[in-house]
C-alpha cells in the first residue's frame, strides 16, 4: 500500500465523492418541479401517484327514452360530455364521449362493479337495457354498433360468428375488435381482435320513460 501511488488518488476520489453527493442531491431536488413543468397537476414534491388528478367529470344526460328502443336489438347513439383536465392556460377541455344504448332480447347482469370505485351504487344490477361507451377499450377508436352481423364478416376482418351469436354485434374499424353486446355472462365479451377487455359501461337510472346516464367507467383516452 505504502509503495503504491494510489493513496493520493484515493484522496482526490474521496473529495470528488464528497462534492458529488450534494450536487447529485441538489439535482434530484429538481425532479418534482421538472415533472410539474410537464404535468402541472401533480402535487408538489411528489413523483408518485402521478395521474390521480386526471379524473374526468361528466354531467347526467338523457341518453334515450324507452319508447325509442322498443324492440330487441334497437339502439340509439348519444354523446356524454365530460370535462377533462388539460395542461393549457384554461386548464380543462370538454370532450364528447360517444355511447350507445341497446335494448337486449333478455335480461343480463350488468357489469357495474366498477361503480364502487367512484363511490356510487348501481340503481339495478339486472336489465335488458345496457349502455356502453363507444370508445374502444383497445386503443381508443370509436367502434360501431352493427345491427346486421353479416357486415362484420365483410368489413371487419372476416370474423364469422358462431350460430348463437348471429345477431347484432359491435365492431371497431381501427384494429378489428368485435364484441358481443348480449353475452349473458360477460356483456360486451370480446369475440375477436386485440381488445383486452369488454367496452366500458355507463351507470344509468330510469326516470319514468327516460334513460339517464350519470357516470362512465373511468380509463382510456378521449
Amino acid at each position: 500500500m505504502a509503495a503504491d501511488p494510489a493513496p493520493r488518488l484515493e484522496r482526490r476520489r474521496f473529495l470528488k465523492l464528497v462534492v458529488a453527493a450534494p450536487a447529485l442531491a441538489g439535482l434530484a431536488a429538481f425532479a418534482s418541479p421538472l415533472l410539474r413543468f410537464l404535468k402541472p397537476n401533480v402535487e408538489k414534491f411528489k413523483i408518485y401517484a402521478p395521474v390521480t388528478n386526471d379524473v374526468a367529470r361528466g354531467e347526467a344526460v338523457i341518453a334515450a327514452t324507452l319508447g325509442e328502443i322498443p324492440k330487441p336489438w334497437d339502439f340509439k347513439y348519444f354523446v356524454f360530455t365530460q370535462k377533462y383536465p388539460q395542461y393549457t392556460p384554461e386548464g380543462f377541455k370538454a370532450a364528447n364521449m360517444p355511447g350507445v344504448v341497446i335494448r337486449l332480447p333478455y335480461k343480463v347482469r350488468l357489469p357495474l362493479q366498477w361503480a364502487r370505485t367512484i363511490g356510487k351504487e348501481p340503481a339495478f344490477t339486472e336489465s335488458d337495457v345496457i349502455v356502453y361507451s363507444r370508445i374502444c377499450p383497445h386503443l381508443g377508436c370509436i367502434y360501431n354498433y352493427v345491427p346486421n352481423w353479416r357486415e362484420v364478416t365483410a368489413g371487419y376482418g372476416g370474423y364469422m360468428p358462431p350460430d348463437v351469436r348471429k345477431h347484432a354485434l359491435m365492431a371497431c374499424p381501427c384494429h378489428l375488435s368485435i364484441y358481443d353486446p348480449a353475452d349473458r355472462d360477460v356483456p360486451g365479451r370480446v369475440l375477436s381482435g386485440p381488445a383486452p377487455r369488454p367496452p366500458r359501461t355507463f351507470l344509468f337510472r330510469i326516470d319514468g320513460e327516460s334513460i339517464v346516464v350519470t357516470d362512465v367507467e373511468p380509463g382510456g383516452i378521449a
Binding site: 404535468k39 395521474v51 354523446v79 388539460q86 395542461y87 364528447n96 377508436c141 368489413g155 378489428l176 383516452i221
Partner: protein, 377 residues
C-alpha cells in the same frame, strides 16, 4: 471504468460516420450517396418547415384551415408544403436504406458501433418527428393516429410491480397534455416536431465545426437532381390534407404514413401491451446489434443468423405493409401463422449459424482465409 468508457467513445468518435463523410472514396457507388443525401433531405425539411411556420396556426380550430390555405391560396405554398412532406419521406426512406446497408455490410462492427447507434436513433427520432408532424394537420388520420399511438403507453400500467403506479398513463398524458387529445396536444406536438430536428441539427453543426469535416460530400448533379425530383412530385402529387379531424367519427380503415403501416398491422395482431413492448424491444435490439453480433466476418454470409434476422425484418415490413394496404387481417389465423413462421425461420438461422461456425473451427487456421470466399459465394 469511466476511463475505459471515455476511451471507447473517443476511439469510435474518430471513426464516426454520421453522413458517410469518411467514405467519400466510395461515392461512385450510389449506396454510399445515402449519407450525404440524408443530410440534404434533412436540411430541406428543416428550412421548408420554418417557412411553413409563417402561415401555420397551431390551434385545434385553425390548424386545418391554415394548411388548406397554405396548399391552395398562399403563393407557392403548395411547393413549400410539398417539399416539406416529400423531403421528410425521402429522409425516412434514406435512413432506412442506409441502416440496411450498414446492417448487411456489417458496418456496425468495431469501430462503427457508435455510427450505427446514432443512425438507428436517427430513424426512431425521424419517425417520432413524423408522427408529431402529421398531427399538426389536424385531419382525421392525424387525430386518430395520435389517439391510438398514445393509448399504447397506457397499457404499460399492466406490467407487474411498476405498472400499477401509473407511469404508463403519465407518459401518455404528458405527451397529450392531459387525458384527452386537444389543444394541449397540438401545442406539445408542435414543440416536439420542431425541437427534435432543429436541436439535433444544431448539435450536428457544432460537431462538424469542431471536427472540421465536410458535411455534404455530394457533387452538384445529384443535389440538383433530387431537388428537381421533389419539386416535380410536389407538383404532380400535391400533399394531401384529408378531412378535418372529427372526434366523433372514426374513419374506416384507419391508415397512417407509409412507414407506420407495418406497425399498424402488427398492432391488430397482438394484445395491446405487446403493441408497446414489441416495438420497444425491436428498438432495443436495433441499438444493441453491434454488441449482440459477436461473429468475426463482415459479409452477410459470414454471420448467417443476423443476416436472416435482417432479411426477415425487411420481408415482414413489406408484407405487413401490403396486408394493411389491402385491408386484409384475419385475426383468428394470422398471428399464429406469423409466430410459427418466425420461430421456424429463427431456429433455422440458429442451426445454420452453428453449422457455419463448426465448419470454420474445423478448417485449419492457415486454410481458413482461403476457404472464406468459398463459404461466402
Amino acid at each position: 471504468m469511466w476511463e475505459r468508457l471515455r476511451d471507447w467513445i473517443r476511439e469510435r468518435r474518430e471513426k464516426l460516420n454520421l453522413f458517410d463523410e469518411t467514405l467519400v472514396a466510395r461515392q461512385d457507388n450510389p449506396m454510399f450517396l445515402l449519407g450525404p443525401l440524408l443530410y440534404y433531405f434533412w436540411l430541406i425539411t428543416v428550412i421548408t418547415g420554418v417557412v411553413l411556420m409563417i402561415w401555420y396556426e397551431p390551434t385545434t380550430t385553425g390548424a386545418f384551415s391554415s394548411i388548406e390555405r397554405i396548399q391552395h391560396e398562399v403563393p407557392l405554398g403548395w411547393l413549400i408544403r410539398g417539399l416539406h412532406k416529400y423531403a421528410a419521406d425521402g429522409l425516412i426512406l434514406t435512413i432506412i436504406l442506409r441502416i440496411y446497408r450498414m446492417y448487411f455490410l456489417g458496418e456496425y462492427k468495431k469501430p462503427g458501433e457508435l455510427s450505427w447507434m446514432l443512425g438507428f436513433l436517427g430513424l426512431v427520432l425521424g419517425m417520432i418527428s413524423g408522427i408529431t408532424g402529421y398531427l399538426l394537420i389536424w385531419n382525421q388520420r392525424a387525430f386518430w393516429a395520435a389517439k391510438t399511438v398514445l393509448s399504447v403507453p397506457v397499457y404499460f400500467d399492466q406490467i407487474p410491480i411498476i405498472g400499477p403506479m401509473g407511469f404508463g398513463s403519465m407518459i401518455a398524458y404528458i405527451f397529450l397534455g392531459g387525458p384527452a387529445v386537444g389543444q394541449a396536444t397540438i401545442t406539445r406536438f408542435y414543440a416536439l416536431h420542431f425541437g427534435i430536428s432543429l436541436v439535433l441539427l444544431i448539435l450536428i453543426e457544432v460537431f462538424f465545426q469542431r471536427t472540421r469535416r465536410k458535411r455534404i460530400n455530394m457533387s452538384l448533379a445529384p443535389a440538383v437532381l433530387f431537388l428537381l425530383m421533389l419539386v416535380v412530385i410536389s407538383y404532380i402529387l400535391p400533399a394531401e390534407s384529408g378531412r378535418r379531424a372529427d372526434p366523433t367519427r372514426t374513419p374506416l380503415p384507419i391508415l397512417s404514413d407509409w412507414y407506420f403501416l407495418a406497425l399498424y398491422q402488427y398492432v391488430k395482431y397482438t394484445p395491446p401491451l405487446w403493441a408497446g413492448l414489441g416495438p420497444g424491444l425491436l428498438i432495443g435490439f436495433g441499438m444493441l446489434v453491434p454488441f449482440l453480433d459477436r461473429s468475426k466476418g463482415r459479409r452477410p454470409l459470414e454471420r448467417p443468423f443476423f443476416f436472416v434476422v435482417g432479411l426477415m425484418a425487411l420481408l415482414y415490413f413489406l408484407a405487413f405493409t401490403t396486408l394493411i394496404l389491402f385491408n386484409i387481417a384475419v385475426i383468428e389465423r394470422e398471428p399464429f401463422l406469423v409466430m410459427v413462421l418466425t420461430l421456424a425461420v429463427l431456429s433455422g438461422a440458429l442451426l445454420w449459424e452453428r453449422r457455419y461456425r463448426r465448419r470454420q473451427r474445423a478448417a485449419p487456421p492457415d486454410i481458413a482465409p482461403a476457404a472464406r470466399p468459398h463459404a461466402a459465394g
